[in-house]
Amino acid sequence: MRAVYRVLAGLIAIGVVVQAMAIAVGWFTALKDVDDGLVIDKNYDGNWGHNVHSIVGSTAIPLFALLLLIVSFFAHVQGGVKWALYVFGLVVLQIAFAFAAFAAPVVGALHGANALVLLAVAGMAARRAAGAPTPAATTEATA
């Protein structure tokens, strides 16, 4: 279970990196396409970069965060539930920022900043599950 915890937290961290890459590719591709004759107006619904960002962001990362939380209940990781909750909360916040940013684009700045916080926190959660369990982690203190 510790290994699963570590892998899930790691996948979330990698997911954040993928998200940054996908959205950058999406918009650079769009700029190039405009030079090539594309019209971006209300008819435009993005390219594969945007699609990857939307699928990873609305499905893959939330699913990993949910699984991490559930695994944390069973895994003997010190502070594991707490850190899984941090990750879960940051993912919820990230989605809320995205939702709000469609109406108020300036909120997109928080979406970008919160992504880096999520990356750091998911990385720290993964590190807590590295190596063998400490005796303290087997107590019920984490519940």
Partner: protein, 479 residues
């Protein structure tokens, strides 16, 4: 052997798991769209204040509401649909769908009163196809909606559409099976009733990233037919398109197939063509003119020599006040059914997929949406209100709506008859129509990806039912 109870920690963990998963599984399950769904049993009936009818399932089947069955057609067309590679002149090859090896498909032209017969063959489009006659008020069986008025036409099969071209005007046709994919990739064409020989046709379509006019990319040219030209503009895309004319003033002479009463000349203004909508312009063409099609490199030049290129004008022709009033032929104040069509959005699941922007109708998500029930002869008013954050081109099949007002301001121009109405975010339109074409009719957003995300409902006539199913064996997916 005595079974030891699990440690308290495991019990708490299990309990916490249940607490976390229950709401998610609940909302996920509730969002699933059944794989075999009758339009007769979906959603909930909205009677619009009219008489409540109990026996919606009985009566005539839509398949019996056909065009003239016997008579010899005046215009007979055979269309063969294929998935293949084709050329976009000015741009190159693309993968998509064709009708008789071209996209757009062959132009269908008829005189008013002609019986049109189109035989559609599916050569190799694996998902099946249909053809819908966008803007033409055909009898219900000819409407071409997979899962509502017919089954999708599988590869190797054929289907015959027959209807009388009773109204002159600019129309188009397109597949209504997996429409958000099939239309975008080329299954569409132009249908015009009673054009003059030298009318200019400009059907705008975006294939993947390539916006085209009449299937061609870049600056395209046609000869000036005379001192004025009637230009029939058709927007087959998913978003509204601003059109403007560089080099001459113009009149908006028709909208969605209906002539504008007493159009006045405008210059330095753009006109909006709703997604799915049509606008006919009359343009002075004694000098070369350029018609800009939403900006971008694809434009249409009428005449020889250099045509000016300008930028998008700020002002827009407002059809609410354009032209002069005229009787509409019925009294909306005597409406017998009054509906509201509130478009909102929600965060959560749609058909099991999580997302930030799923559409709602009157607060409900597809397929649990209101079915607008009418009886033949009803005068119907509808308030279409959009608070969803995005524009929606609302398209009612089989009928034309007249716009009564927008955001509380009454329409004062020419009667604005429409079948494709551009409802921007935070806009409210008041519309009316006469229920004079019995059937089960889609009433949906013509941003086709939005329709596939559930922005669809039906207008249903008492005494009409359909034997066709959404999903099911023929795998009907009209959106």
């Amino acid at each position: 052997m005595k079974l030891r109870p699990p440690p308290r920690r495991v019990l708490i963990a299990l309990l916490a798991t249940i607490v976390v998963l229950t709401p998610i599984v609940f909302f996920w399950t509730r969002s699933l769209v059944p794989n075999d769904l009758s339009p007769m049993s979906m959603g909930y009936a909205d009677f619009g204040g009219g008489p409540v009818s109990e026996h919606l399932h009985h009566g005539v089947d839509v398949s019996e509401l056909t065009g003239p069955p016997e008579q010899k057609p005046d215009v007979a067309v055979d269309l063969v649909a294929r998935k293949e590679r084709f050329d976009i002149p000015g741009r190159g090859q693309t993968d998509g769908y064709t009708l008789n090896h071209t996209s757009p498909g062959p132009r269908i032209v008829a005189k008013q009163g002609d019986l049109i017969q189109v035989t559609l063959h599916n050569d190799n489009v694996a998902d099946g196809i249909t053809l819908h006659w966008h803007g033409v008020d055909v009898p219900n069986a000819e409407d071409g909606v997979a899962g509502v008025t017919q089954d999708a036409v599988r590869p190797g099969q054929s289907y015959v559409y027959r209807f009388v071209a009773k109204d002159v005007g600019t129309y188009w046709y397109h597949s209504h099976q997996i429409a958000h994919e099939q239309v975008q990739k080329g299954l569409y064409g132009v249908l015009i009733v009673q054009p003059a020989a030298d009318d200019v046709i400009a059907v705008v379509h975006t294939y993947d990233k390539v916006r085209t006019v009449n299937g061609e990319y870049g600056e395209r040219r046609v000869k000036a037919p005379g001192p004025t030209a009637r230009v029939r503009l058709i927007n087959t895309d998913n978003g509204p398109m601003a059109i403007w004319v560089d080099g001459a003033p113009y009149k908006v002479v028709a909208v969605d197939g209906t002539d504008v009463n007493a159009p006045t000349e405008v210059s330095g203004k753009k006109v909006l063509v709703t997604a799915g909508g049509r606008v006919d312009l009359e343009i002075r063409t004694n000098q070369p003119v350029r018609i800009a099609l939403g900006g971008g490199p694809t434009t249409l030049v009428i005449g020889n020599g250099d045509a000016p290129s300008g930028t998008e004008p700020k002002d827009r022709v407002d059809l609410l006040t354009y032209g002069s009033t005229k009787a509409i032929g019925f009294d909306p104040a005597r409406a017998t059914r009054v509906f509201r069509y509130d478009i909102g959005r929600t965060i959560g699941f749609f058909d099991g997929k999580p997302g930030l922007r799923w559409w709602t109708i009157n607060g409900h998500q597809y397929p649990d949406v209101p079915m607008f029930v009418v009886s033949e002869g009803d005068i119907v008013r509808m308030t279409i209100k959009n608070t969803s954050g995005q524009v929606h081109p609302m398209h009612l099949h089989g009928h034309h709506l007249v716009v009564l007002g927008r955001n509380g301001v009454k329409a004062t121009g020419s009667p604005w008859w429409t079948d494709s109405l551009n409802v921007e975010d935070k806009e409210t339109y008041e519309v009316a129509f006469v229920a004079n074409n019995p059937g089960i009719w889609m009433d949906h957003c013509h941003n086709l990806p939005h329709a596939s995300q559930g922005l669809i409902t039906h207008l249903m006539y008492n005494g009409v039912s359909t034997k066709f199913h959404l999903g099911g064996g023929p795998n009907n997916h009209p959106e």
